[in-house]
């Protein structure tokens, strides 16, 4: 069973090949990159089928048994995340190629593949130190992608992003050191065995490690109070990269789900209360912050970035309940918000490249005003959580899962008011961009200085947005089967014993 390591190996082999052998031929690099990503999608589908029966598959690197060697673990959650990554990557890649973003700088495709390698690895690994290594792989690729095609603002925002994440990585290592010193292992399954044995009186050091890890993952997931890097980063990154980064915040959310449920979660007297206690208020604040950001943004890209912050808050409110029902809702919302955010960034890219600026001010309409207005409208209602797209169902599931007395007041208020503010913010942005545009035709004479109207979007440039929107619609139409699958996924996530047995089972003789 070598299938499990393929999502890591394939991009890892393809990336240097593209960087060394195809760097002078953009067509060849594009073909290889698309073929590789399509193959990755096929592999991810295969893995999802493999994991769908509910067994936890384990891949021992070098065939060393679990607590001693590094393992990759494939269960429903990992398979889902890898599938989500590869389908998003294909959509984003098509957009980057058809709009020509990939040719505006060097090594876009190589960095893109390295990024996929890091993300897939982070989703598959069963060892926390290995998770750190894959985090670094995906981060170093994201640094390159973030400053792709350069420019003053982008370089400065990129520098901020790098410094923030390097500080986060240092904190991650402090957390790992503390964890290893207090438990003697970094394997997630082995931790799940040892942590519950620690009584609350002796758990001080482990609790420090748990909180440090939570902070590190919160930085990745853009959770209050460490969310401040996200708006500047996403707003200044090239739009396809910002769309791909929609999955990066989910890596943080996944890590919280995996580590803080399987290793430190329910059933460990020393640590079970920590993540839930801190995550919930932080997530509520994140929702509020995202909503106010959307309302107050004066440019389109920061507006979308703040809506991403808000969606991460909604996602983590559901995660913070640490119950199977709430986790099902969180997973559904995670799939939805990944595509919704990516879709918004792609539409915004099409609009902004034609308007010339992303400032929210009325300007004469550019080509295909109606088409872009419709696409923006669809993407915005998905993100804000209005019917008929999946955002509505996602938020409904989250609200439904948080009906316990401890959650209902704060969570319902934050999500409902936050959604309302987000809707207002998006409505304002949309009407300035598209409606007021048609009203200011008088000033089009000023624009006479503009030599020619920008070219209309080709089918290839609109197709990725359509694909993402179709994905969201399908997610809403097939919500029944999808939630059934996600329910099984979260049940498997909370079945700690099954995970431990699968990973730590003795190696059969061959």
């Amino acid at each position: 069973m070598h299938w499990i390591i393929l999502p890591v190996i394939l991009p890892a082999l393809l990336a240097p090949l593209i960087a060394f052998a195809m760097r002078h031929d953009i067509t060849l690099a594009r073909t290889a990159s698309v073929a590789g990503t399509a193959l990755l999608l096929a592999i991810a589908l295969g893995l999802a089928v493999l994991a769908a029966d509910g067994t936890t598959h384990v891949y021992r690197l070098g065939d060393w048994p679990a607590p001693f060697g590094i393992v990759l673990v494939l269960d429903r959650l990992s398979a889902l995340m890898v599938l989500l990554t590869s389908s998003l990557a294909l959509v984003v890649l098509i957009h980057a190629i058809t709009t020509g973003w990939d040719a505006k700088g060097r090594h876009f495709h190589a960095l893109f593949q390295f990024q996929l390698m890091g993300i897939c690895g982070a989703f598959l690994t069963g060892d926390i130190f290995n998770l750190f290594v894959f985090f670094e792989v995906l981060l170093i690729a994201s640094y390159g992608l973030m400053i792709h095609s350069g420019g003053k603002d982008r370089m400065r925002a990129g520098l901020q992003y790098v410094v923030m994440n390097l500080a986060g990585s240092t904190l991650f290592l402090f957390a790992l050191g503390t964890l290893y010193a207090s438990t003697g292992t970094l394997n997630i399954a082995d931790l799940a065995v040892r942590i519950p044995e620690i009584p609350i009186g002796e758990a001080a050091l482990v609790r420090v490690a748990v909180i440090l890890l939570l902070i590190v993952f919160a930085v990745k997931a853009a959770l209050f109070p460490v969310q401040f890097w996200l708006p500047a980063t996403y707003a200044n990154a090239p739009a396809p990269v910002a769309a791909l980064f929609a999955i990066m915040t989910k890596v943080g959310a996944y890590a919280i789900l995996r580590i803080h449920t399987t290793a430190f979660g329910p059933g460990s007297p020393g640590t079970e209360d920590l993540a839930a206690t801190w995550l919930f208020p932080a997530a509520i604040m994140t929702i509020a912050l995202g909503a106010f950001g959307v309302l107050g943004a004066r440019r389109l890209m920061p507006l979308i970035a703040f809506s991403v912050v808000g969606s991460m808050g909604t996602l983590l409110v559901a995660v913070a309940a640490f119950s199977p029902t709430a986790t099902t809702a969180a997973l559904y919302y995670m799939v939805h918000s990944t595509f919704a955010a990516a879709c918004l960034f792609l539409v915004a890219d099409l609009v902004v490249t034609r308007r010339g600026t992303d400032t929210l001010r009325p300007k004469p309409p550019t080509v295909q005003n109606g088409l872009f207005a419709a696409l923006f409208f669809a993407a915005a209602i998905a993100m804000a959580g209005m019917p008929p797209l999946s955002g509505f169902l996602g938020k409904l599931l989250v609200l439904d899962a948080l009906r316990e007395p401890g959650f209902i007041g704060w969570a319902w208020t934050a999500i409902l008011v936050g959604s309302l503010l987000t809707i207002v913010g998006f409505a304002r942005a949309g009407s300035i961009l598209f409606w007021k545009a048609t009203a200011t035709t008088g000033s089009a004479t000023d624009a006479g200085a503009m030599v020619a109207l920008p070219p209309p979007a080709t089918t290839g440039q609109v197709a990725p947005v359509m694909l993402a929107l179709a994905g969201l619609a399908a997610l809403a139409v097939f919500a029944g089967p999808v939630t059934a699958y996600l329910g099984a996924t979260s049940a498997q996530l909370f079945d700690r014993q099954g995970y431990v047995d699968a990973v730590l089972s003795p190696v059969e003789e061959r």
């Binding site: 130190f129 290594v133 670094e136 170093i140 640094y143 400053i147 350069g150 420019g151 003053k152 603002d153 370089m155 400065r156 925002a157 990129g158 520098l159 901020q160 790098v162 410094v163 390097l166 500080a167 990585s169 240092t170 290592l173 402090f174 790992l176 050191g177 503390t178 290893y180 010193a181 500047a232 004066r298 600026t357 400032t359 001010r361 300007k363």
Partner: protein, 119 residues
């Protein structure tokens, strides 16, 4: 021994955090380097402190040994932090050359200037 290791980690981290908060590229890079040194020593110490012992099991006799895993972790961490520092220096240099300023924080953008230009 313990007091030396613990205080050196503490001093390195404190210095690193102070430099990190300077918000100019050069001190920030130095601060991150100091913090990575601190974390490397910290990881090394997480397998307990043992002097003059090899990190391998001895087949001959009852020789004690020190935990080899933190040494492997430190090696990985050193390689990664070294590479990351190099990337950071390059990006910092690029940002300085583009923006002609080495400040890390971005001042609030000037919306009015933008309005003047496009109006």
């Amino acid at each position: 021994m313990e007091i030396i290791v613990a205080s050196s980690i503490g001093v390195l981290t404190a210095g690193g955090v102070y430099l990190l908060l300077r918000l100019r590229t050069f001190p920030v890079i130095l601060g991150l380097a100091l913090m990575s040194y601190a974390v490397n020593v910290f990881l090394f110490a997480s397998g307990r402190l043992a002097v003059d012992q090899s990190p391998i099991l001895s087949r001959y006799g009852e020789a004690t040994y020190t935990d080899p895993l933190p040494q492997a972790l430190v090696l990985t961490a050193i390689v990664i932090s070294f590479g990351m520092t190099a990337v950071l220096v390059m990006i910092g240099l690029g940002a300085f050359l583009e923006a002609d300023s080495d400040r890390i924080d971005i001042e609030p953008e000037d919306d009015d200037a933008e309005n003047e230009r496009s109006a």
